[in-house]
């Protein structure tokens, strides 16, 4: 069976670190960074990129639209 793999791109500059994406991710791909961006927010990043299935749940709930999602079959 073909496996679906996804990948996300997070725009760090615009992320406000609200953690809504982290909670909505069904696979636990996203975590909050230990560093802050230039505005002082702990930005979201794909901590476990191998788990991403490209469902776009994170991008759909992101209030600031900072996440872009890609998906492919392997």
């Amino acid at each position: 069976m073909a496996k679906i793999r996804g990948s996300i791109v997070v725009n760090i500059d615009r992320c406000k670190g609200c953690e809504v994406c982290m909670v909505s991710c069904p696979t636990g791909t996203i975590a909050m960074a230990k560093e802050v961006n230039h505005k002082g927010y702990f930005y979201a990043f794909p901590a476990n990129p191998d788990l991403c299935i490209g469902c776009a749940s994170c991008a759909m709930v992101c209030p600031d639209g900072v996440i872009t999602v890609y998906k492919t079959k392997i």
Partner: protein, 272 residues
């Protein structure tokens, strides 16, 4: 632009699933982290983009947190006086009936100062879409009590909680307009989870279609959060909203077109 990426091999244009719509400008949203306004804006922009209405849309900006909305979505806008957005939308729609006209208002704007305009525009059945963001508080001015504040809910002007004996009961604006004959489609949605975002988007798409068919007023309430003034983290505020706001403001359609009801009953009869 600084960015972090997942697996780099997958990031190719042909694998793209979701990208922020081009209708959203590059301006950074002026909202607090986790505010539902941003998600509501993006869904609205996506609908306008997908329906190809960018040059055919006129939006009415409210007064409130979303007062700068005209800077975030790349369509034609008109700023209204506080609460007067439905009146202005009425004028614009009557003068330019071929345009898609909508208002975007918060609860302080629509349910407090603009109550008369809202009710009369809905009662006249003006062919506009009203999007109502309900977070139960005045967000921009510092968390004062709004007509939609829940009983017992603390705000800066009700520090011991809203006492319904003195301050009255919360106003269910969506239920009121659903009883008016002029409204065609009235629904209450939210934008805090992916499933709810999809439902809200579907509701907005329906409203766009109904306006094309000149059916009457469409009214979409979006129950939202206000992390800063509720004094919670965004995730906590979403949970609080589910536990406290939704029992009082239950999600779902309050008024659907008569044709759909007959369709549904005929379908269920077939199933029987």
């Amino acid at each position: 632009m600084a960015e972090v990426t997942g697996i780099k091999e997958i990031i190719k244009p042909e694998n793209l699933v979701y990208k922020k719509t081009k209708l959203m400008t590059d301006k950074v949203l002026s909202y607090c982290p986790g505010c539902g306004h941003g998600t509501a804006h993006r869904i609205l922009a996506e609908i306008i983009d997908e329906e190809g209405l960018q040059s055919e849309t006129i939006g009415i900006c409210p007064v409130g947190c979303s007062v700068l909305l005209y800077e975030f979505i790349d369509i034609d806008w008109q700023e209204a006086a506080h609460g007067r957005a439905p009146a202005l939308a009425t004028a614009i729609k009557r003068l330019l009936p071929e345009k898609f006209v909508f208002t975007y208002q918060g609860d302080g704007d629509l349910a407090a100062i603009g109550t008369a305009e809202t009710i009369h525009a809905c009662n006249r059945g003006e062919n506009i879409l009203i999007i109502f963001i309900n977070n139960g508080i005045y967000g921009m001015t510092g968390g004062q009590m709004a007509p939609t504040t829940l009983p017992g809910m603390r705000s800066s002007t009700s520090p011991y909680g809203r006492d319904v004996k003195i301050m009255g009961n919360p106003l269910k604006m969506t239920d009121i307009v659903a009883t008016l004959l002029g409204t065609y489609y009235v629904t209450r949605q939210s934008v805090h989870t992916p499933a709810n975002v999809k439902k809200t988007k579907k509701a907005m798409r329906k409203a766009v279609q109904y306006q094309k068919l000149n059916k009457g007023t469409c009214f979409i309430e979006i129950v939202s959060n206000c992390p800063s003034n509720w004094k919670m983290t965004p995730v906590q505020s979403n949970k609080w909203m589910e536990e406290n706001m939704f029992p009082y403001y239950p999600l779902g359609d309050l008024k659907i077109p008569a044709e759909q009801i007959t369709q549904k009953t005929s379908n269920s009869e077939k199933n029987d």
